[in-house]
């Protein structure tokens, strides 16, 4: 879904002359109505509700706002959310690159099925993924039991459980951003490198690597952005212990349930600002990963 966005299409009208533009404007009906409706709907559903959070938080005043977001429990939850999201995005970059490479370059039985499997975390509701992961990685689960028996490591109800859930939700982003770039990559450059005496590893690192760097960074950012806000797949497996396995979205819900609307709003505003910054960064990255491979 988000990965789809890498395929930005240049505006068609950019190529038209001003006379054609004038003609186009004149002849097609419905500009006022559709743009007006778009702006109205966008304002009512998205912009006004979002600004409500900021206005509510500004009513707190700086000092109260700062106090609300700097309690040890809030800071610990930010550390848990951001630390584990970074780690999950990093793991997704490594394995996502391998999955994309295998899907584009190799032929093997079951490849189509493997390709469809990549999209499953997009389509499977988070609560379903959450209870399933908690069961599998729980102390009696299919994977949780053998892992606990052999290594003594508990996964469910620890930070590792959060990591597993965040890897699951972020997994498609890296694959789906790297895949189209890899498909468009011309084999000629690799052949040229090989014929000039480069080893396969050198070719991959020096010729393919730079091409894949922008989409990998974009995929990392998308995966991270999704992981930071994720709630449904994490709450069941996390254990939700304050200071240890409590993620930021859960803390917002906890505050709401305790009728601490100010505390919840203050944390939400911090999350919103981070989301906006990530969205801007991702937009810039996607422009970069598209223009970064001009050859």
């Amino acid at each position: 879904m988000k990965a789809k966005q890498t395929v930005t299409v240049t505006t068609h009208a950019g190529a038209l002359s001003s006379v054609q533009l004038w003609w186009k404007r004149r002849i097609l009906p419905g500009f006022g109505v559709t743009l007006g409706f778009t702006l109205l709907y966008l304002s009512l559903i998205v912009l006004i509700p979002l600004s409500a959070a900021f206005l509510k938080a500004s009513g707190l005043g700086w000092e109260a706002f700062f106090r609300a977001v700097s309690t040890p429990r809030v800071i610990a939850s930010f550390e848990v959310s951001f630390g584990i999201s970074l780690l999950a995005a990093g793991i997704n970059v490594l394995f996502g690159a391998i999955v994309a490479w295998v899907l584009v370059r190799y032929r093997f039985p079951g490849k189509k099925a493997l390709d469809s499997l990549v999209d499953l975390p997009f389509a499977l509701p988070t609560a379903v993924a959450g209870i399933s992961l908690a069961t599998i990685y729980g102390p009696n689960g299919w994977l949780g039991y053998p892992i606990l028996a052999w290594t003594g490591i508990k996964i469910a109800y620890t930070q590792l459980g959060i990591l597993v859930a965040l890897i699951f939700v972020g997994l498609p982003f890296v694959v789906r951003t790297v895949q189209p770039v890899l498909e468009d990559l011309d084999l000629e450059y690799e052949e040229a490198a090989a014929s000039l005496g480069a080893s396969r590893l050198q070719t991959i690192l020096r010729v393919v690597g730079p091409e894949l760097f922008p989409p990998l960074v974009t995929g990392f950012a998308l995966s991270f952005a999704r992981a930071v806000g994720e709630y449904g797949s994490v709450v069941f497996i996390a254990g939700n212990m304050p200071m240890k396995t409590e993620i930021v979205p859960l803390l917002i819900i906890t505050k709401l349930e305790q009728y601490d609307y100010r505390g919840a709003t203050a944390i939400a505003v911090v999350m919103l600002i981070i989301s906006f910054l990530l969205l801007l960064a991702i937009n810039a990255l996607q422009r970069w990963s598209n223009t970064g491979r001009i050859r």
């Binding site: 009906p29 295998v102 014929s195």
Partner: protein, 289 residues
């Protein structure tokens, strides 16, 4: 080895890794997706059917389960058409016309994807909740939005807001507006042009956007959880019912409800690949012409 190196490398082998490496990479990919995606998917059905088909089917014969299914269908039946109309309007304005601030508008449409689901629910509580801006007014007029169906619908519309628009915009932009101009100059009305020219041209993108929007609308958990109030039989959608049953240790029933959503996800992926297959065969035909 030395003899091999002296020969000019054959094209094929020069851009291929050794068989051992290839096998290892495929194994890593299969193992990674297997552990993180395939096993969780299978576990949903395995846990749902753990005590046999009879118990599985019996878990749907429950008034709270039926109410949750009905509410989920109702919410999707409102949210998806609402976002469909918006998606078509936004794509028409953005793809067919030039105006300043367009790229900002496209970014703003993406905004709901960047927001945490929990925060998406919270913003509606801040407006319509008892402590919110409109809270006193709503209470005075006995209108319930938060902890009621309207709040669930609003939160669902918010989280699924960009799906259809963002599938339509690039496709409509790529198609330009020549065909519409021809239709209009031949005497078709604006609506005729839209129904007979524009819509058929974007139908695959439209279907794609609608099924993704629908899957998310039916499966949304975080945002809906904040605004729902978890009133059994009244404000529980399927995902919320899954949570309640799971927290009550009623695992078979929880996974039975979850299996409905897993089937929905599989059907969504199936339609998605059918659409992709159609769209690619269509573009292949166009290229040949």
């Amino acid at each position: 080895m030395i003899a091999e190196r002296a020969r000019p490398p054959k094209n094929r082998s020069a851009v291929r890794e050794p068989a051992r490496v290839r096998l290892a990479l495929v194994a890593v990919a299969v193992l990674f997706l297997g552990i993180f995606v395939f096993v969780p998917l299978c576990a949903v059905f395995a846990e749902a059917l753990k005590k046999g088909l009879g118990v599985y089917l019996a878990s749907f014969n429950d008034s709270a389960a039926i109410a949750a299914i009905q509410l989920t269908l109702l919410v999707a039946a409102i949210a998806v058409p609402a976002n469909l109309v918006f998606g078509l309007a936004a794509a028409w304005a953005i793809a067919k016309f030039e105006f300043s601030g367009k790229s900002l508008l496209v970014t703003l449409i993406d905004l709901p994807f960047a927001v945490s689901p929990v925060v998406s629910g919270l913003i509606y509580v801040l407006i319509f909740g008892a402590q919110g801006w409109l809270g006193p007014f709503l209470q005075a007029h006995d209108i319930k939005i938060i902890f009621a169906v309207p709040g669930i619908v609003l939160a669902t519309i918010f989280v699924t807001f960009p799906f259809i628009a963002r599938e339509l915009i690039p496709v409509m932009q790529a198609q330009g507006s020549e065909e519409e101009q021809v239709a209009l100059s031949l005497g078709a009305s604006g609506w005729q042009t839209f129904w007979r020219v524009t819509l058929p041209n974007v139908r695959w993108a439209l279907i794609y956007g609608v099924i993704l929007c629908n899957a998310r609308a039916m499966g949304e958990f975080g945002a809906v959880s904040v605004v729902s109030g978890h009133i059994r039989g009244l404000t529980n959608t399927i995902p919320l019912q899954v949570e309640i049953l799971y927290n009550e240790y009623n695992f078979v029933a929880a996974f039975a409800m979850a299996s409905l959503l897993a089937v929905l996800a599989l059907v969504t992926l199936l339609i998605k690949s059918l659409v992709e297959w159609h769209a690619s065969s269509q573009s292949a035909v166009k290229e040949q012409i």
